[in-house]
Symmetry: C2
């Protein structure tokens, strides 16, 4: 169904907005690069006659309302923002493959003369990555009612710039309501090595892991690193280090069903000659088993208390974000599996440990995530790469799913 050259051309065009010389992508949420990519998408949507909506969080939806105002909406897309100096396909592929799939579906409808029973929507969710602003899935969480809009707009980046200010800065503080989906299909490169290791080219995500994310601060006291007696130091970084070591050791006690990390650490004043007065850790614990997640959270908090006592510092929990374990829609999983099979492609069922905006859609409508392999399972690194033929395969299956839904309508709930 799809036009492969048109897909690759569209993806190449978006590289202008933040591609790095090492093959990576640096397009932080609501940065000038993100703004330019959004402008590019607006231009494309307008050229294709889609009806654009931008909401208060800057979520962007382009609607092909060819089935009339009362027809259900089938939505596909992902996010255009990236991690710092990360990969080119993470997120962007899902948006741009949806664009190509929409064109392919429109062409198929025109050729067949079949009247579509669903409208099609393409979405670019704001700040999926959680790199510049936390939590991740910011735009889709607000859209789904899982996070308060005012709370989200007030979140600040490491320089103290709020989401509201950054949205206004690139002209994407919208005032519209975006259409709500009646079905949601998100295509994404796999953020892990499972497809490649299994020799598979296509996966459907059936379950997402739960996560607990803490922003935890240790508060000590600035002092001279030279003369200050060791026994009197209140070293916030020393406490942080003890906790990072403890968090790194947790997964060994729950092999395979617990991932942990401290990806960001803010040290203040961060001067070589000053005992650190403050250290803020961004902690993540992820598991498919709620009881393992509970255990890990308790163990982490016990280790934090121990580290604080040993370093004579105070601790302060500043944010907690929780995401429960969840499952995707069985009907869409079966549909995707069937369309892949029709192309002679076997479907591998996957867990996703990475979060995707589709998770926020689960309470709203049937939702699913489709994956194609990332070479070496690499993600959040400039060398992230997916083979052109796999990019084409994912877009083709997506187009076929959207076409089936447009042709046959949504199954009864």
């Amino acid at each position: 169904m799809i036009d492969a050259a048109r897909l690759h051309g569209l993806m190449a065009g978006f590289l202008a907005h933040g591609a790095t010389p090492d093959g990576g992508m640096h397009r932080l949420a609501l940065s000038p690069e993100d703004g330019a990519a959004r402008d590019h998408l607006v231009g494309w949507m307008r050229a294709q006659g889609l009806r654009l909506s931008v909401d208060a969080l800057g979520n962007m939806v382009g609607l092909l309302d060819w089935a009339g105002p009362d027809a259900p909406v089938v939505m596909s897309g992902s996010h255009l923002d990236s991690q710092p100096h990360a990969g080119r396909y993470d997120g962007a592929y899902g948006v741009l493959a949806a664009c190509e799939a929409l064109l392919a579906v429109r062409e198929a409808a025109g050729a067949s003369g079949i009247a579509p029973r669903c409208n099609l929507a393409i979405v670019n969710w704001t700040s999926e990555e959680g790199a510049r602003f936390q939590p991740s899935l910011l735009g889709s969480s607000v859209f789904a009612g899982l996070l308060d809009a005012d709370d989200a707009l007030a979140r600040v980046d490491g320089d103290g710039v709020s989401v509201a200010t950054a949205l206004a800065g690139i002209g994407y503080a919208g005032r519209q309501h975006c259409p709500r989906p009646d079905a949601y299909v998100e295509l994404h490169v796999e953020c892990g090595p499972e497809l490649e290791r299994a020799g598979a080219r296509f996966g459907v995500v059936t379950r997402h892991w739960g996560a607990v994310k803490y922003r935890l601060a240790f508060l000590g006291r600035q002092a001279h690193t030279g003369p200050t007696p060791m026994a009197e130091r209140q070293d916030a970084l020393l406490a942080a280090a003890q906790l990072i070591v403890a968090i790194g050791a947790l997964p060994a006690a729950a092999a395979g069903v617990l991932h942990s990390s401290v990806g960001r650490l803010e040290v203040s004043p961060n001067s070589p000659n000053v005992v650190p007065g403050e250290a803020v850790l961004f902690i993540e614990l992820r598991s498919p088993q709620p009881e393992v997640l509970d255990w890990a959270e308790r163990a982490m908090l016990a280790a934090a208390a121990k580290a604080a006592a040993a370093a004579r510092v105070r601790q302060e929990v500043r944010f907690i974000d929780r995401r429960a374990v969840g499952v995707f829609d069985a009907g869409l999983i079966a549909l995707a599996t069937g369309e892949a099979a029709a192309l002679g492609v076997a479907t591998r069922k996957l867990d996703t440990i990475a979060a995707h905006d589709a998770i926020c859609m689960i309470p709203l409508c049937p939702a699913v995530v489709l994956n194609v392999p990332s070479v070496g399972g690499i993600c959040h690194h400039p060398s992230e790469f997916t083979k052109p033929e796999d990019l084409e395969l994912g877009a083709e299956i997506l187009a076929r799913i959207l076409w089936r839904l447009c042709r046959d309508g949504l199954p009864a709930a």
Copy 2:
């Protein structure tokens, strides 16, 4: 000899350049605030008829050459730069008390009719703190030939701005040679609690501790914090944390004669959802015993290798700065002790664990550091404070030392 009101007035005037509302001082080396403080000092020196020299590193010397071109130079001063959000007296007191002492000596000479046998110089050394640029003692190290000027000028801050660029930015990339001292006396607030705990008001530093400072990088690999299998992660921050814990534990094995710290840690890309690909530690080890310092360095390196192996990352030593244990001039120590005794003040002999520019003068000429107590022994914190009467006492003893040297001349070497 001194005019206390004039001293306090001068010190209050310099608070305009970087004082913070919490009582602290934020005047990083070669920042706009440092530039304003330098301009202020230039104005004061010119008003007092001193001859100003600024060298390539921005070191500033104001010379009172009243004893003729062949007379020896007695130099006093310290540094106007501060740590981030730190204390008001650290450094600035030594420069401004030298200014007041010079005026007092000139007045004493005028009143007595005695012809001075030494010229007097006031110095402001560039970038003593090592907060924005490393190593510390940057300007005085180059002046003393301990560090190459081109090397020093090429050092960059955390934003990649070089010393050369920053000097040019505030107009202090000088072209002159500053006068060399034949004796050097530096007054400084104590960077520790020993005077206060001993109930003493005045100290003379007889010895400085040795130091080994490493900038050590762990190089891992960026990856997604969610799906990346734990056993395949190459987490640079985890290695850094293990090393920080090990460094923090070293002093317990050498109680009282080893201080250790990691004051600065640079994490990259420092995003909550990315396994850190790089972590750079700024490590300090300090001891009065060379063999303890050697042992600590070996233990630190062994811990670094172990941490790198455990976290599957590489390590890279980027800078090493070493400072040997050293002693100050016995003649100047005796002179200071005598002048204090003449005022009825007992002198306590001190080690300095903090570095001072005077350390760089030891190879050049007789040098000494004088201390007055800092309340609570606080240093590198906004609450650093020295009582006005102690500030006056230090300046008075300094003035009497300078007057004695001007009146009697320098002792034969």
